[in-house]
């Protein structure tokens, strides 16, 4: 995607940290869950930036942090040229029009006591963008059609819909205000295979028609590969590798990315790929390992990995990786 100089990038995130304090018991030591431990990236207009990682890697916290639904510990979030990191709830209110979210669980993310019309109309009413309730109704019908639902669905309650249809309702709600950035947090992981592809296609189609920018968060690497222009791989609150899609999937550099990619079962029963099986479990974000957080599970672990957290190594201007294997190389060159 070409970034025009005139309009600023929809989203720039700089060294974002979110720590949750935890205290075990009354006299327990105060510790921190480092859900996000220094994350930086930017998303260009019209781009889909995919974030992939396993449970506990902080990808959902990232979504909540950018939407300012959790308290930031430090770092900057610049939305459409506006630094919103320190905005209060009331300062955020008008800004919320610009960021919209699609949630993972289509059952939990819609209020069961509201009709589809009320759900989709909620953003319109909150931000008072329609002049009359007739206009609201028209807009709701338009949105429902856009996501492939019928007019008559508007009067029904969410509990009457299947998972895929509910996700469409959620998407309609997120598009009501023409947002600058749509954060989709695992939007298809709760759906069945045949419904998943419908929703993925719908998201691509909407992006094309409405010139949307997505932050797409998922644990499924094939889904992320399909939908994203650029991809960031997260592990324990940090990015380990960020690259444009083709380069990442053709030439994964970080040992973790390599292991993730090799762990995906292929649907070709004849394909015999070399599989990297990572030992052990994902460590708790409370007691993250020293140095490179991945080192206890890494096949290429070197002494330095236990000591020092790796710096960003720029491989190409679009592909960078946080791994000592590549900083070493830099030094030699």
């Amino acid at each position: 995607m070409i970034q025009k100089n005139k309009s600023p990038a929809p989203l720039i995130v700089k060294d974002l940290k979110v720590y949750y304090p935890v205290r075990r018991g009354l006299f327990g030591k105060l510790q921190h869950v480092k859900a996000l431990d220094g994350v930086s990236f930017e998303i260009a207009k019209g781009e889909t930036f995919g974030v992939v990682g396993e449970s506990g890697c902080g990808k959902s916290t990232l979504a909540l942090a950018i939407a300012k639904l959790v308290k930031l510990t430090s770092g900057q979030i610049i939305l459409d040229g506006e630094d919103i990191s320190h905005y209060s709830a009331s300062q955020m209110q008008p800004v919320r029009k610009k960021i919209q979210m699609i949630f993972q669980d289509p059952y939990a993310s819609l209020n069961p006591r509201m009709t589809v019309r009320d759900i989709v109309a909620e953003p319109l009413i909150i931000h008072n963008v329609c002049k009359s309730s007739k206009e609201v109704d028209e807009k709701v019908i338009e949105l429902l059609r856009q996501v492939g639902l019928d007019d008559y669905h508007a009067n029904r309650y969410a509990h009457q819909f299947s998972g895929g249809q509910r996700q469409r309702i959620g998407i309609a709600r997120s598009l009501a205000l023409d947002p600058i950035l749509v954060i989709a947090d695992e939007p298809v992981s709760a759906l069945d295979v045949s419904i998943q592809s419908q929703v993925l296609n719908l998201l691509s189609e909407l992006k094309k028609h409405m010139h949307l920018t997505y932050l797409f968060i998922a644990h499924d690497l094939s889904v992320v590969e399909h939908i994203s222009d650029r991809v960031g791989v997260m592990y324990l609150g940090e990015f380990v590798e960020v690259s444009d899609r083709d380069d990442l999937y053709n030439r994964p550099l970080h040992p973790y990315t390599q292991a993730l990619l090799s762990a995906i079962p292929s649907i070709d029963p004849e394909e015999k790929k070399e599989r990297i099986i990572l030992e052990g479990n994902i460590p708790s974000p409370i007691n993250a390992p020293s140095g490179c957080k991945f080192h206890p599970r890494c096949r290429h672990c070197m002494p330095i990995c236990k000591e020092l957290s790796p710096k960003k190594s720029v491989i190409t201007d679009k592909h960078y990786v946080y791994c000592h294997l590549y900083t070493e190389k830099d030094k030699k060159e």
Binding site: E54, S55, S162, G164, Q165, D192, V193, S194, I195, Q196, S197, Q198, L200, N201, S204, H219, D220, L221, S222, V223, E225, H226, I227, R245, D246, Y249, A259, L260, L261, S262, A263, I264, P265, S266, I267, D268, P269, E270, R275, I277, L278, E279, N281, I282
Partner: protein, 330 residues
């Protein structure tokens, strides 16, 4: 292909749930065979009846409204459905055992790991507590768990999801069952942990020769783990056959649709293939082929009459009128 002995044969199995809101036909007229030492994958979307098939074989309907209403499940020459509850209990956990999808909730939170595994041994083998504990330690070591001696005295909440699933596997295999039914054993796990568990199951199977029924919604897992596959849709089998054959050349449009609609690594397309529409409401089932309303190749007959199975030899069958060139199975 070599003809091995069938260790399990399911014939015309129908299982219904009698709910307050009417009868739910969860499994309808399902037949399949499991060959000794092989792995059969049952694949389908949620609500397709794959888990209920497993529960029917195990006979685990207590406390639900479910009941097998028809069919035979033949294991070692005996129809399990004709046995008394007491006789089936003797088979459960000993000859046929099962692992479940949710490792977080499938273990009893208030009992120690060692206790939970050893009670199965004590139930089925005539051994004492200490001997049972030795077996527990051995099987846990086989599953690759670290510090086994202390884990036996720990509670489930002290273990991670992957570790719990290893415990579940140990529990299921401890009595050396002839058949292991694995119901979505890796669905709740992360990709790298899934890889560990699949690898473990493959190794344990090589060693013990247990026949496995592997239930999953993931075609990739089937391709990786199974010899034979059974594709289910709307409580019915749609296609069966050898995994290589089915994945190379799927006969049923539903199988084809499923395979086409998942994003595949390395394959970059603008648009994914989609199967239109939703799974039909069980109470408003279409008249003919259950897939016809969503099928891009549906013909007039498909909406009128439900197709029978057409057999293509070597275990390959398809429930589709397009395959009527095969031999019709009654």
């Amino acid at each position: 292909m070599t003809d091995r002995k069938n260790i399990l044969e399911v014939k015309n199995l129908s299982t219904y749930f009698f709910t307050d809101n009417g009868v739910v036909r969860a499994v309808e007229n399902l037949s399949f065979k499991l060959q000794e030492g092989s792995t059969l994958g049952i694949v389908g979307e949620s609500g397709s009846g794959k888990s209920v098939t497993a529960l029917s074989i195990m006979g685990l309907f207590k406390g639900t409204t479910g009941r097998v209403v028809e069919g035979e499940i033949i294991f070692e020459g005996k129809d399990l459905l004709k046995l008394s509850e007491e006789e089936r209990r003797g088979i459960r956990g000993k000859d046929i055992s099962m692992i479940f999808q949710e490792p977080m909730t499938s273990l009893n939170p208030v009992l120690k790991i060692g206790e939970q595994i050893s009670e199965a041994i004590i139930e089925h083998q005539n051994v004492g507590k200490s001997e049972a504990m030795e077996q527990v330690v051995q099987i846990l070591k086989d599953t690759g768990l670290p510090r086994v001696e202390s884990i036996v005295n720990e509670y489930p909440f002290q273990l991670s999801g992957g570790q719990r699933q290893r415990v579940m596997i140990a529990m299921a295999l401890v009595c050396r069952p002839k058949i292991l039914i694995a119901d979505e054993p890796t669905t709740a796990l992360d990709v790298t942990i899934q890889a560990q568990i699949l690898d473990l199951m493959r190794r344990l199977k090589e060693r013990s020769g247990t026949s496995i029924i592997f239930i999953t919604h993931s075609l990739g897992v089937v391709a990786e783990m199974c010899d034979e596959v059974l594709v289910m849709y709307c409580s019915r089998a749609m296609e069966t056959g050898n995994v290589k054959d089915v994945f190379k050349d799927p006969l049923h449009p539903y199988t084809r649709g499923l395979m086409a609609s998942i994003p595949k690594l390395g394959e970059r397309v603008e648009e994914l293939y989609t199967i239109p529409g939703n799974v039909p409401n069980p109470r408003f089932m279409p008249k003919g082929c259950k897939f016809a309303p969503r099928c891009s190749e549906a013909m007039d007959i498909c909406h009128e009459e439900e197709p029978p199975f057409f057999d293509f030899g070597g275990g390959r069958t398809s429930r589709c009128w397009l395959c009527s060139n095969g031999r019709e199975v009654k």
